[in-house]
Amino acid sequence: MQDFEPNVVVFCCRWCSYAAADLAGTSRMTANPQFVVIRTMCSGRIDPEFILDAFAKGADGVLVTGCHPGDCHYVNGNYKTRRRMLLLEEVLEQFGIDRKRLRCEWISASEGGKFVKTIDEFIGTIKKLGPIDGIK
């Protein structure tokens, strides 16, 4: 499992968590590189289907990030995200996917450190879980 290099998709909302990822870079922090960020306006744009689709196509992990509750730039998009992700976690097990492969985290624009920590921890978890072997 040592040289398993996971493939992780990270969704960021443009206002908070994307800015946090920018800040992590600007502050020259170091994160595990096995992920790519996809930017949406708000975490509320993230359709659970994107995540199922990602797993079906071989994502080892999906990280959904957004503004802290109450800070969403579109009033309450992240509350909707939270609801959707909770439901989705239930569904994942039914597809034989460990629910730990999906994580939802609120990261403000000033939390570059939290962004890096979340990435490293999450990729660590995924490494332990090993490669995904498809949706059952």
């Binding site: 493939n7 998709v9 443009r14 994307y18 800015a19 990822a21 920018d22 800040l23 992590a24 870079g25 600007t26 020259r28 922090m29 170091t30 994160a31 590189p33 790519v36 960020v37 996809i38 930017r39 949406t40 306006m41 708000c42 509320g44 744009r45 993230i46 359709d47 659970p48 289907e49 994107f50 689709d53 990602a54 196509k57 071989g58 994502a59 730039h73 579109y74 009033v75 309450n76 998009g77 909707k80 959707r84 890096v116």
Partner: protein
């Protein structure tokens, strides 16, 4: 259409180039399907860099551009403008963030290089499906509505009117002026409130650009930024103001007396009344609830004495409609009721008054002509206790927030009392002294040192009446002693709350309030005077407790936001909004409940229910899109297909 995408990779000096092998990236991307050109440059954002992109768009006849450089937050606009200059639609240009999200955050050159390639491919896939968009443009009605005629509304209205635009000012009571008109003197300079306010009130009334609807309320608001339609209810005053000259004879002869709101119940007024002598406009109204004629069918004394025939008992509420482009909400505050504070007598004790009542006792035009006399027996109080934080900073029982002005006005009250009753004894009970404005700390010091106001740190636990005196139980927490104090008058620094009725108004305006009912700003730091609804701005205590200088500053800030809008020919709106595939939409309406902006609407089209999008209201968050069970709803330039293609690209090995 066959895509011809150009990719421009920036070195950013060594910022990208030292971790990402640029040559390798260019070689790899050149081969990628859809890409017809890839090139690198040291500083893509520099003049030569921009020139290079412009030249290539033309030479290579590019249909899309990807700039692989820093974060789009920094330069997306720059490169979209470059693209537009070469005649390519700016929304066909995107940035791939290989600096912040790659070269800066990773150390391993090989991995960072591979990752940079992947990031660029992901964005190339997005650009392939990007549509050509044009910002939506909306016409603006360059007239503003200001709701509330206190100092915030007055300032806002004057600023906008002085800039040359028309203002509709709506005030619910019969005179403008608000609470500031009730104040005696203002901290920390002790200038007379009326003297600085009344000239502004007169200016409003005489301004050629201001249309004042006093004794009026907002009945309904429709439309959106730049184009609101407002229905205003003009409450029946039963007096024809066009005939009335304000002689006051009707008031003099009216037989009915009720407690005056303006005097905070400390003096009577008549059933036909002008709230205070300097009222603007200075025209009376009949208080239907108390008028003898309305109650018993007999009287009409006012009508008999009016030579001008101005009394109209049969008047009814009237409605007018106005069209405006922007709205400033300045609905102010009211004082939290003493009746909520059981341990202080809940309003049973006449000589326990609130801050506004004490203002009236201090006011030269007040019920005691400025002499401090206690309400119960008219005696001059020899010892007065002032209690701060009543109902404020008490999350368990009352309001969790600090009401901001009480520390200062209680210091002022104590000081002014001492000026009027030199041998009197003012004592302030406080928890903390908050004096954070310009000249405020000095003012509190002055109260203590020059006017010998005693400050005791401790919360008052109980107030009761005993033998014509009031007894306060407290503790001196600095000395660690319990205190029992007898005094003649108690002034409570009550919490201030949003005006009643604001709740209803915010529903009509579709703006948000916080847990305490105060209006919510769009961003607490960067957009402090905008509501989340475009075109609606907020000012004064409706937003949070604040003093007069802050209120005036915020009101002017709100006006400048309005003027910023009015300075434009048309409003432009981001085109990355939601749209609906009408064939797929089943009209279930889920999106309507998900939209925080009321941008989604059910319409019947050819007998079929369709959930449409009011583009101008859509902020492009995408909540409704993620929630659409039919996939009928999509976002311009970030539709499901694009996201799925991007995810696939991230996941492709190699």
């Amino acid at each position: 259409m066959k895509q011809r995408i150009g990719v421009f990779v920036c070195h950013c000096g060594i910022n990208i180039a030292s971790t990402v092998q640029i040559e390798r990236v260019v070689e790899a991307i050149k081969e990628y399907p859809g890409v017809v050109h890839a090139e690198d440059y040291e500083y893509m954002c520099s003049d030569p860099g921009q020139g290079m992109i412009r030249a290539r768009i033309k030479e290579k006849n590019l249909t899309g551009v990807v700039v692989a450089a820093c974060s789009p937050t920094l330069h997306e606009l720059t490169f979209r403008n470059v693209t537009a200059l070469s005649g390519l639609n700016p929304y066909r240009c995107e940035m791939a963030n290989i600096r912040e999200h790659c070269s800066w955050i990773h150390k391993d050159v090989d991995k960072a290089t591979k990752k940079a390639i992947k990031i660029i491919k992901t964005i190339v896939e997005k650009v392939k499906l990007n549509e050509e968009l044009t910002p939506l443009s909306v016409p603006i009605t360059k007239r503003a509505l200001v709701i509330g005629g206190g100092i915030a509304g007055i300032q806002s209205a004057l600023d906008i009117a002085n800039a040359g635009y028309q203002v509709i000012l709506v005030e619910k009571s019969s005179s403008i002026g608000g609470h500031m008109a009730q104040l005696s003197e203002t901290f920390p300079t002790l200038d007379c409130s009326q003297c600085i306010l009344t000239p502004k009130m007169v200016e409003v009334a005489q301004h050629k650009n201001i249309k004042l609807y006093n004794y009026a309320e907002i009945d309904d608001v429709s439309g959106y930024v730049g184009n609101f339609k407002v229905k205003i209810r003009l409450k029946a005053s039963y007096v024809d103001w066009s005939k009335c000259v304000g002689c006051g004879l009707c008031i003099e002869k009216c037989p009915t007396k009720v407690a005056s709101e303006f005097e905070q119940g400390l003096a009577p007024r008549k059933a036909i009344y002008v709230p205070f002598p300097q009222a603007v406009p200075n025209k009376p109204v009949i208080d239907r609830e108390h008028c003898r004629y309305f109650k018993t069918g007999k009287c009409r004394v006012c009508e008999k004495v009016c030579d001008l025939d101005a009394i109209k008992f049969d008047e009814e509420d009237d409605f007018v409609e106005e069209e405006v482009g922007a709205i400033v909400v300045a609905t102010g505050y009211e004082v939290y009721g003493v009746q909520n504070i059981g341990e202080y007598g809940a309003g049973r004790y006449k000589d326990v008054v609130d801050g506004l009542q004490f203002e009236r006792l201090l006011s030269a035009s007040g019920p005691t002509n400025g002499e401090i006399r206690r309400p119960s027996d008219g005696q001059i109080p020899r010892r007065v206790a002032f209690v701060s934080c009543v109902g404020s900073r008490d999350p368990e029982l009352h309001k969790p927030y600090c009401s901001k002005v009480c520390c200062m006005y209680l210091a002022k009250h104590a000081m002014l009392y001492k000026h009027r009753v030199p041998d009197g004894q003012p004592i302030i009970f406080y928890i903390d002294i908050r004096s954070d404005g310009k000249g405020y700390e000095e003012f509190v010091q002055r109260a203590q040192e020059e006017d010998h106001v005693t400050y005791i740190r401790g919360k008052v636990s109980k107030i009761y009446e005993d033998n014509g005196e009031l007894v306060l139980l407290s503790a001196d927490t600095l000395a660690g002693m319990p205190i029992e104090l007898r005094c003649d008058l108690v002034v409570l620094g009550m919490a201030i709350c949003p005006s009643s009725g604001v709740d209803e108004l915010t529903k009509k305006l579709k703006i948000q309030t916080d847990a305490n009912g105060f209006l919510t700003e769009a961003h607490p730091k960067l957009r402090p005077v905008e509501s989340l609804t475009p075109g609606i701005f907020i000012a004064g205590c409706a937003h949070a407790p604040k003093d007069i200088p802050d209120t005036v500053a915020q009101a002017s800030a709100a006006s400048s936001k309005v003027l910023e809008m009015f300075g434009q020919k048309e409003l432009s709106h981001d085109p990355m909004v939601a749209w609906v595939d009408e064939d797929l939409c089943s009209g279930c309406g889920v999106c309507i409940s998900l939209c925080p902006y009321d941008a989604r609407e059910l319409e019947i089209k050819e007998g079929k229910r369709i959930a449409t999008v009011k583009e101008i209201l859509c902020e492009g968050c995408g909540s409704c899109i993620a929630g659409c069970p039919a996939g009928a709803c999509q976002q311009r330039n970030l539709d499901d297909k694009q996201v799925i293609r991007m995810v696939e690209t991230v996941l492709s090995r190699g």
